[in-house]
Amino acid sequence: MSRTVRLFLVATVITTALVVAFAAGVAMTYLLMHDRASAASQEHDLGVFWEAWDLVERVFYGDLPDNQRLEWGVIRGALGTLDDPHTSFLEPEPRQREKEALSGRFGGIGAYVTQAEDGRIVLEPMPDLPAERAGVRKGDTLLQVDDLEIGSGMSTEDVIARVRGEIGTVVRLKLLHEGETEPVTVEITREEIPSPTVEWRMLDEPAGTGYIRLTLFSDRTDKELRQALDELKDQGMTQLVLDLRGNGGGLRDSAVDVAGEFLSGGPVLLQVEKGGKEQTFEAGNGGKFKDGKLVVLVDGGTASASEIVAGALQDRGRAVLVGEQTYGKGSVQQVFDLSDGSSVHITYAEWLTPNRRQITGVGLTPDFEAGITDDDRSNGRDPQLDRAIEWLKGN
């Protein structure tokens, strides 16, 4: 893989948003809100707003925004007054990317999209998926998507947004195969493309040690995790390293399910809502790996849903944490989809670990501190994983 960032047709770009977006997975419709809105009908005196904006409209030297952009700006500004970085506004396109990531699948063609150093957008099809079947070859330069010509200023994100779409619909690509001069046009029917969030393997040593890395907590993460645990157990896994480093979170319910794979019932988190209403989320009883030794790797990028899992396993004495202090995001957002496709993420609750630890701004402290340097990374060393293995050997 080149140094160019390779974007899986999913949603790679979303990661940043997700730190912010530990969604409760509840999307309320505009209609639902509309009822509530009429009931609550309360006017805000935005008189000074109009005084200001009228002036801008009359004298500002430059282009004025259209109404939608103005409205989005007003909402952003209003949310900014809450001083909560996790309560935020998302425009329709980023919201769509986020939904796709959190569902763990999307309608696409099954190809990697890369931006070459000279700015060209280059494709690499994945085996047995629509792009390959339609004749897309590794190294093809993408020239046009439907009616949109690929310009030099376009990012892979822009391109991905156009290539993806509803399952069953058709996208037309104009391509230039490597070494050829005549472009070809192919039509590809979009299919459901999974975007895995779990990677796993057996470690070389000590014997019987499995390794699982979760990159995101999507709707499908628990299912993938169960498959991973089954396969590792088939290969003789008796102890496990669960890597949550750099995992910025995802869905709360997914975190509860994931923690449940390692616990026999009991609390995973306590959620406190406005007004003090408290709710306990418990692990189920069907966990796949409830007994073997377990180390969880964490770092400063371990946030939100990842911290729910790590915090529960630490408090319940089920795992030791190795690595660095975690991010410290102890709030829960609910995502509200608005009538024009944009959405707001609203912090509506706080969560505590089973031992009632509040982690906002603090994070979880690992049982065994271990750092990693850029030098380690570029030389393929992983002292944090080494420390985890050391613990497994010694206990």
């Binding site: 309320m28 935005l46 409209e57 004298v59 500002f60 952009r69 700006g73 500004g77 707001v344 912090t347």
Partner: protein
């Protein structure tokens, strides 16, 4: 213009700003600018996603009577209200006061204009800024700009607090004491950095290729000699102007007359790190070198009307070979002077591309004592070149490297002397 509507309007001829230096001179505001080359590092990714809509083209008959959506207008979905009702019922945390909410909506709306000089200043910050204008003030001695939410340093003044603390051009200030510079106007950001001499201000700084770091800077009174002049060894007269306050032209003229009395072979006018000042001073300064009634500047408004500015006095240095030194810190009034002298072929510009601030703000005090500054006009050189966003290209580009600074070399000045001695 707006006075007819009964608004309390102060017209400002705004130029650039120095944080912490004499950026304000009695009653005039000297303010900021945009640097297109500075990239934003602090903007949240989701905020940068371009909406798939075309910006409306403003026309003369812009329908001000049509309530934009946030108005809670008569029809259509009112997204803002939709959102705020959810916030009121669901948000876990304290809600802002009605005033803060209103300020937030104004900030958000003004941000959509993409112009850092059009900004809302809440009453508290406005009060601090008025205080600043009333007298001398103290700061850190740095020149800053705001681009896409990132406050970055354009230049630091030699031997002033910012430089002593190790700050340098290109550094991005992310936090001032406990306050993040997010969702904030340049005016508000600057008012946080300023404060009484002797007090410390803690800045969180992002520098390319380094981990973010914090630095304590002790504020000081920043006095900079307005005009500095000397005869160089080669028989070249040198004069430096550090800003355009209301004494600039008078003091500059007398310094030039003293130099001319010594029969120099040429003259160097150093406008580097001169962030600007008063419009009128820039016109009279250009008039020291250009014939009477020469066009210096065209100011253009939204409705297409324009005001030409011309020189009104006989020049004191009409013919002597002239080099103007410029750099990225030469902004606003400095660019007016440099641009006019360049367009009329009166001087050769040597140094770096200039800053590119050529817009005029109207300062409007809203009914609750908050302020709105709105860009109402732009400046163009006599040959109709846009100053704003473009900057002026020097005739002879000469860069100064960090090594030059450390070794106290000035290759731009050296090149100017060479040019005046050799004619090329």
């Amino acid at each position: 213009m707006e006075n007819s509507n009964g608004f309390k309007v102060v017209l400002l001829l705004v130029l650039a700003v120095l944080i912490g230096t004499a950026g304000f001179t009695s009653g005039f505001i000297v303010r900021w600018i945009s640097m297109p080359d500075q990239t934003a590092v602090l903007v949240e990714p989701q905020d940068t996603a371009a909406p798939a809509t075309q910006p409306a083209t403003p026309t003369q008959e812009q329908p001000t009577a049509t309530p934009p959506p946030a108005a809670g207008g008569e029809e259509g979905p009112d997204l803002f209200r939709e959102v705020w009702q959810i916030i009121e019922s669901e948000y876990y945390g304290d809600l802002p006061s009605e005033d803060e909410l209103t300020y937030g909506t104004i900030r958000g709306a003004v941000d959509t204009l993409g112009d850092p000089y059009t900004a809302f200043v809440d009453p508290q910050a406005a009060a601090i800024m008025r205080e600043d204008q009333s007298g001398s003030f103290e700061g850190i001695g740095a020149l800053v700009t705001m681009e896409e939410g990132a406050l970055s340093i354009v230049s630091v003044y030699k031997d002033r607090p910012a430089e002593k603390a190790g700050l340098r051009s290109g550094d991005v200030i992310a936090q001032v004491d406990d306050t993040l510079i997010e969702n904030m106007s340049i005016y508000e950001a600057i008012s946080l950095i300023r404060g009484p001499a002797g007090t410390p201000v803690r800045l969180k700084v992002y520098r390319e290729g380094e981990e973010p770091f914090e630095v304590d800077v002790i504020r000081a009174k920043i006095d900079i000699e307005l005009v500095e002049s000397k005869m160089l060894d080669d028989g070249i007269g040198y004069v430096r102007l550090t800003q355009f306050d209301n004494t600039a032209t008078v003091k500059l003229a007398s310094a030039i007359e003293e130099l001319l009395a010594q029969n120099p072979k040429g003259l160097i006018l150093d406008l580097r790190s001169n962030p600007g000042g008063l419009l009128n001073e820039s016109i009279t300064t250009a008039g020291l070198f250009l014939p009477r009634d020469t066009l210096v500047l065209i100011e253009r408004f939204k409705d297409g009307t324009e005001t030409p500015y011309t020189t009104s006095e006989e020049p004191v240095a009409a013919d002597i070979p002239l080099v103007v030194l410029v750099d990225a810190g030469s902004a606003s009034a400095s660019e007016i002077v440099a641009g006019a002298l360049q367009d009329h072929g009166r001087a050769v510009l040597i140094g770096d591309k200039t800053f590119g601030k050529g817009s005029v703000q109207l300062l409007h005090t809203l009914s609750n004592d908050s302020e709105l500054r709105v860009t109402i006009a732009r400046w163009f050189t006599p040959n109709d070149r846009a100053i704003h966003g473009e900057g002026l290209d020097p005739d002879i580009a000469v860069a100064v490297t960090q090594e030059d600074i450390d070794a106290e070399r000035d290759p731009q000045l050296d090149r100017a002397v060479e040019y005046l001695l050799t004619g090329k």
